[in-house]
Amino acid sequence: MKTPLVAIRKVSKSFGEFQALRQVSLDIWPGEVVCLIGQSGSGKTTLLRCVNQLTSIDSGGIWLDGELLGLRERGGRLHRLNEVEIARQRLKCGMVFQRFNLFPHMTALENVIEGPVQVQKRKASEAKLEAMELLRRVGLAEKANSYPSQLSGGQQQRVAIARALAMKPELVLFDEPTSALDPELVGEVLAVMKELATSGMTMLVVTHELGFAREVADRVVYMDQGAIVEAGPAKDLLTAPREARTRAFLAAEV
């Protein structure tokens, strides 16, 4: 019996009065591309951030590669892991942010090797070779020595993807990767993501780009008010959704 790469079981999270996630459960299988869609405030970004523990959960559990995230069960009670252990667990996920979050005081190359060298303690020369390869893969080899401020939004996001890949993660999380881009730059990023999907990377993508979801995603999950309304194969859900709410959302998005 295969195990899912990510197993989310009855996860809840509130921010003060506002309940962002209500007992959400979901499996992500290795090699899958899953798109999370829904309105803002539906909990999709919160769910994403819970997977790499940028946001901590209130109850329930998330297992990554069979390991419970952020918590240790002992004698029927749950204890939070310390900072060092959480950081180690994060190494298995890469994350690409909506606002790229490249380190402005480093070149593209330096951004990409920062994790491998500083965190994984790998040799700089080795890391640089791999980084150049990754930059080539995202189509930015000639921009290796450019600073983020010298790059367009689309270029920065592609460097961010290379940076996430440099850590050799088992899955890459995308938080609305193209929402902050000018329309003419969206395509180049989606192309890279498509290539990544084709190469077999497990991807969890929060996005509004339904065209991308239709083309690339294996499954689409529609969330509303902190819960999963409907989940299913991308083509099925997007063309013939079963739930009325899903239908209403998709109609509005077009």
Binding site: R90, G94, M95, N101, Q118, S149, Q150
Partner: protein
């Protein structure tokens, strides 16, 4: 026929007329008045009972030059200590650990809440409270041997400066977009590593201009160390006028040196500001 839009009648063609320069009589008048006042003040000083020969004679006296050197040395060292403490305390203040947070707040409260001159006097006279300092059995020293005017001034000025610098640093750290910290976490960095590699370098660009300002203030604050016998320029100027009673003349000498130093530092400070003020947006070096 041209594609220009149709125009109504009745509006003259002004395109060949030039706009006359304004005479700005008001400004001329103000300028003359101010110049007259400045000239009058200058004349009063020139005719006043100041023996300018003494000013000239002592301006480059070895003990005065040594004094301003000591001033600058102390300012630089105290600023370095202040920045170091400021960074540490700011990080403590932003820590999730409530103990560290309280200690940091306490330090800032204590050293911003008391006058600098009081702190200098306390450091210098520490031996009245602790005659010996050290670890019993390992190493002890007499407090007076340890607490020289130099060390007392350095500790007094540096630790006081640290309390102010920590607030600047804290603002700087908070000014860095939280996304930077999250991106660092996302590649597996712990809090301190993220601070050190990603957040602090970006914060430094934001804090460098206000720190430059603080440094200029510190240069002048070193004059307080004169009361604990640190031989900076004011102290040495005082010694001269204690002997020859030329109070105003020697104070002018010291004042001129301070003016010189600050006049050099201020444009440097403005350069710093221009280079780094938009550092975050510009990225790069």
């Amino acid at each position: 026929m041209s594609n220009a839009p149709a125009l109504a009648e009745g509006f003259p063609d002004l395109s060949s007329l030039k706009v006359a320069r304004e005479p700005h009589w008001g400004r001329w008048l103000t300028a003359i008045v101010i110049l007259a006042i400045v000239a009058a003040i200058g004349r009063a000083f020139a005719q006043g009972q100041i023996e300018w020969s003494y000013v000239g004679r002592f301006l480059t006296a070895p003990v005065i030059v040594q004094g301003i050197v000591n001033t600058m040395v102390m300012a630089v060292l105290a600023m370095a200590l202040g920045i170091l403490l400021g960074i540490v305390v700011a990080i403590m203040r932003l820590s999730p650990n409530p103990v560290l947070k309280s200690v940091a707040s306490g330090y800032t409260w204590l050293f911003r809440g008391t006058p600098l001159i009081l702190q200098l006097l306390l450091w210098f006279n520490l031996a009245l409270v602790f005659p010996t300092i050290g670890i019993p059995g390992v190493w002890t020293a007499r407090a007076v041997d340890l607490m020289t005017p130099f060390l007392a001034a350095l500790l007094g000025l540096g630790i006081n400066q640290g309390a102010y610098t920590s607030e600047v640093m804290r603002a700087g750290l908070l000014s860095v977009d939280i996304g930077q910290y999250e991106a660092a976490q996302a590649i597996g960095m712990g809090r301190l590593q993220a601070l050190r590699r990603i957040v602090l370098p970006q914060a430094m660009r934001v804090v460098l201009p206000p720190l430059g300002n603080e440094f200029i203030g510190l240069v002048k604050a070193t004059s307080l160390a004169s009361v604990i016998q640190y031989p900076e320029v004011l102290h040495n100027a005082e010694n001269i006028y204690y002997a020859n009673s030329r109070v105003i003349e020697l104070l002018i000498v010291a004042g001129l040196w301070y003016l010189l130093v600050v006049s050099i530092l201020t444009p440097l400070q403005m350069l710093l500001e221009r280079r780094f003020a938009r550092g975050i947006a510009r990225g790069g070096r």
